[in-house]
């Protein structure tokens, strides 16, 4: 059974200039043990579609879909209370800016404790133990001491580890990582990606990686969804996508990779634009 299944998801924002479609007819599903990457440039609607699933969009957004199902249950019309129970426990999310997503006024131990208090029946001592255990798991040295640290006392990579510890604290079935390594150095990026993959296999989790970095996609994903201007361009297995991209936009995106350059100039997406603008109108 699919952990998450989305069919024909559309998100429209009411703006001063009339309605704006940020996501237009996106379909995908993730299975247990599956790693799905959603790629696209900024403004392609990759984050918005995940925020819509989580119910985190502002009121100006109208979400319509034929199907948004989590473990076979419809989650498009949950009450606030039901949603709070689900989010953070069964579905959790990691954001791009690790330092900005932690509250600077509280210790990281307090913040992870809050999560456990809300979603588990553990008592105070057990929560403390579990927090230390989670810190150990995500590779933070000297966990009991670090629990008393404030976010500004930790590096960006360590803050992201804290975020991951919080996200996996209740053994979620689905983890959504929104550009989890974009703000980090390559060496730290590698460690964080390895950590995410380890946790994913250990917990049999479904993982959705939102990213714009084709390198990260190539190193982590099983399947890939390519989005452009709110529309889904292509869905394929990672090897198929890189070896034999079907959609003109995907082809353009891949050829713009500096490491694939074979001439003096990089082909840009604009060079290909005419071809996929045509297919867009045709479809």
């Amino acid at each position: 059974m699919n952990v998450l299944e989305i069919q024909n998801l559309t998100v429209t924002f009411d703006t001063a200039n009339g309605p704006f479609k940020a996501v237009d007819g996106v379909n995908f599903s993730v299975d247990q043990n599956d790693i799905l990457a959603i790629v696209g440039e900024s403004g392609s609607g990759k984050s918005v579609s995940m925020l819509a699933v989580m119910g985190l969009l502002p009121k100006t957004a109208t979400i319509t879909a034929d199907k948004i199902e989590f473990e076979g249950k419809d989650i498009s019309n949950l009450s606030e209370r039901e949603r709070r129970e689900l989010i953070g426990k069964d579905i959790s999310m990691i954001f791009q800016e690790p330092i900005a997503s932690l509250n600077p006024c509280f210790t990281v131990g307090f913040q992870i404790n809050e999560m456990l208090k809300a979603h588990t029946d553990l008592n105070s001592n057990a929560r403390k133990e579990r927090s230390a255990e989670l810190f150990e798991l995500v590779g933070i040295p000297d966990p009991t001491k670090r629990l008393k640290s404030f976010p500004h006392q930790l590096s960006g990579g360590q803050c992201q580890r804290v975020m991951i510890a919080m996200a996996i604290s209740c053994n979620p079935t689905l983890l959504i990582a929104d550009e989890p390594t974009t703000a980090l150095d390559v060496t730290i990026q590698k460690q964080i990606l390895d950590l995410l993959l380890d946790i994913q296999t250990q917990n049999n989790m479904a993982l959705i990686m939102i990213t714009h970095d084709m390198g990260v996609v190539a190193e982590t994903a099983h399947r890939v969804v390519v989005q452009y201007q709110g529309r889904q361009m292509e869905e394929a297995g990672v090897l198929d996508l890189f070896e034999n991209p079907q959609n003109p936009y995907t082809k353009a995106l891949l050829s713009a990779l500096p490491e694939r350059a074979d001439g003096d100039r990089l082909p840009t997406v604009a060079d290909f634009a005419s071809s996929f603008e045509q297919t867009e109108t045709a479809s």
């Binding site: 730290i188 970095d213 070896e243 713009a256 500096p258 100039r265």
Partner: protein, 273 residues
């Protein structure tokens, strides 16, 4: 390609933190014994993780900050801004493009004014002449004359970076320091900006000092690569040598950590032959 245009000899930069009542002052060695040279028309890439001193180096090369010790030569001229205030003429030689095009342009300044400001400060040109040069530069970087009167918020990230590049070129510098110029941009826009940089390098015979942490971009654009770690140069060599035959452990770690988007590496990961 032969003429050395910029030469750094054993540059040091220390930052001294003022100590508290019970804390002695602390010295941070941001740069240690940095020696390199840049030839005319060449691209030297500076690679390293955050905190390794890349941007401190950029500040010294662009005459924003003084070195603590060591010699800096630009076009054969010894420069130490601590003892001699840089002249307008000197400033013309080196210009900089910053990482974040959203932060590096004044939101209340029209594009035309952004481009003309370096001329106002450093030259005695008349308004008409400045305007003409600004218009010509807009076209060179792939923007249109109508953009002259617009404000930065009306542009996309890629267009803003074009404006920042145009501003840096207004004084016809010999050396352009590019501090992570494409890392805030999308892949497709990144390709356009890299192409633009290649074009103007040929046209103006520029030397680039290209600061980046993205090795796939460096591999594409650089002639020579300098790897920095904790304020020191750990390795400095031609692009081919750095990528095919890295000597230092840190360079090897960096190369191994860079995600590879090749079909072969995916096959290897998935265990498919």
């Amino acid at each position: 390609m032969s003429e050395v245009i910029l030469k750094a000899d054993s540059l040091y930069r220390d930052y001294i933190t003022s100590g508290g009542l019970f804390k002695p002052a602390d010295v941070v060695h941001a740069l240690k014994d940095i020696s390199f040279d840049v030839k005319k028309g060449e691209t030297l890439a500076v690679v390293g993780e955050s905190g390794c001193g890349k941007s401190t180096l950029a500040r010294i090369l662009t005459l924003i900050d003084a070195q603590t010790s060591g010699a800096l030569q630009i076009q054969g001229e010894d420069i130490n801004i601590k003892t001699h205030k840089p002249t307008a003429d000197l400033r013309k030689h080196v210009q900089i493009v910053f990482q974040n095009p959203y932060g590096s342009l004044n939101p209340r300044q029209k594009v035309g004014d952004v481009l003309e400001e370096p001329l106002v400060i450093n030259t005695k040109m008349g308004a008409a002449e400045r305007r003409e040069l600004a218009m010509a530069m807009l076209e060179k970087v792939g923007l249109e004359p109508v953009h002259y009167g617009r404000y930065p918020h009306m542009f996309s990230g890629g267009q803003r970076q074009r404006i920042a590049i145009a501003r840096a070129l207004m004084l016809r510098p010999k050396i352009l320091v590019l501090d992570e110029p494409v890392s805030a941009l999308d892949l497709s826009v990144q390709a356009q900006i890299l192409n633009l940089l290649a074009d103007i390098q040929d046209e103006f015979d520029l030397s680039y000092i290209f600061i980046s942490h993205d090795l796939s971009v460096v591999k594409y654009i650089a002639d020579r690569v300098m790897v920095m770690y904790f304020g020191e140069i750990v390795e400095q060599n031609t692009r081919e040598e750095i990528f095919n035959n890295p000597q230092h452990e840190y360079t090897k770690t960096l190369l191994a950590a860079t995600p590879k988007a090749s079909v072969d590496s995916i096959k290897q990961r998935l265990g498919v032959s």
